[in-house]
Amino acid sequence: MMRRDDDVIIGLVSRTVSPFIMIFALYVIFHGHYSPGGGFQGGTMLAAALILVRLAVGNDLAQLQFPRSWGTPLGSAGVLIYWGTGFVAMICGGNFLNYAFLPLRGTPPHLRNLGILFIEIGVGLAVCGILTAIYDDLLEGHPRD
C-alpha cells in the first residue's frame, strides 16, 4: 500500500500554498482595523495553513514546520498577551483593559488603536496555537501518524 505522505504533487502544492495562506492570515490580523477581519479569523487561517501541511505530508514530516510541543505554549502566550495588556493598563492607572493608559507615547485614541492591535495579535496567536494543538492531540492515539 502506498503511504499517504509519498504523494509528490499533494505535498509540493500544499507546501507551496501554506506560506501564502500565512501571509494572507497576517494581513487579515494586521488590517483588521480597516477591513473585515481580526484575531479570530486570522488565527484560524494560520492554523489552517499549518494543518494543511500536516494533512498533506504526514504528521512526522510536518514537525519540522511546527513542532507538536509548540501549540499549547503558543496559545498560552497569546492569552498572556491579552491579559498582560489589560493588567499593564491597570497598573499604569486606568481601568482593566483601558488602553488609553498604556505606557506609550501618543494621544488616547492612538493608544487605543495600538491596544486593539496588541489584543488582535494575542487572539491570533492563541487561536492558531490552540487549534493546532487540538489537531495534534486528537491524532496522538492514531497508530501510524
Partner: protein, 103 residues
C-alpha cells in the same frame, strides 16, 4: 404531501423576505433602532457605538472597536474559553510517552 412541503417552504421564505425588507440599513445612525433615546426612552448603547469609534479609538472599523475595546472583557472571556478547550484536549487525549511500551 410533497406539494405541502413546498408551499410551507415558500411561505416561510416570504415571511423572511418580508421581515428583511424593513430592517434598518447597517450602520445608519439615524435609523429608528439606533436613535439615542431609544423608542422606550432609555439611553441607547448602539447609537454611541456607531457614532464614536473613530473619535475614541482612531479606527474606522466599528466592529473591531466594539469587539476589542468597548467589549474587550467579553473577547477576553472568549479567548480564555478557547484556551480551556485546548487544555482539556491536552489533558484528556495526550498520553505519557515514558510509560508507553515499545513493541
Amino acid at each position: 404531501m410533497k406539494i405541502l412541503r413546498y408551499v410551507v417552504l415558500v411561505l416561510f421564505g416570504a415571511v423572511l423576505v418580508l421581515a428583511g425588507l424593513n430592517l434598518p440599513n447597517r450602520g445608519d445612525p439615524d435609523a429608528r433602532l439606533y436613535r439615542d433615546p431609544s423608542p422606550a426612552g432609555t439611553p441607547n448603547a448602539p447609537s454611541y457605538y456607531i457614532r464614536n469609534p473613530e473619535r475614541d479609538a482612531d479606527t474606522p472599523n466599528m466592529v473591531t472597536v466594539i469587539l476589542a475595546d468597548y467589549r474587550g472583557f467579553d473577547t477576553m472571556g472568549e479567548e480564555t474559553v478557547i484556551l480551556t478547550a485546548g487544555l482539556i484536549c491536552f489533558l484528556i487525549l495526550r498520553r505519557e510517552r515514558s510509560k508507553e511500551k515499545r513493541p
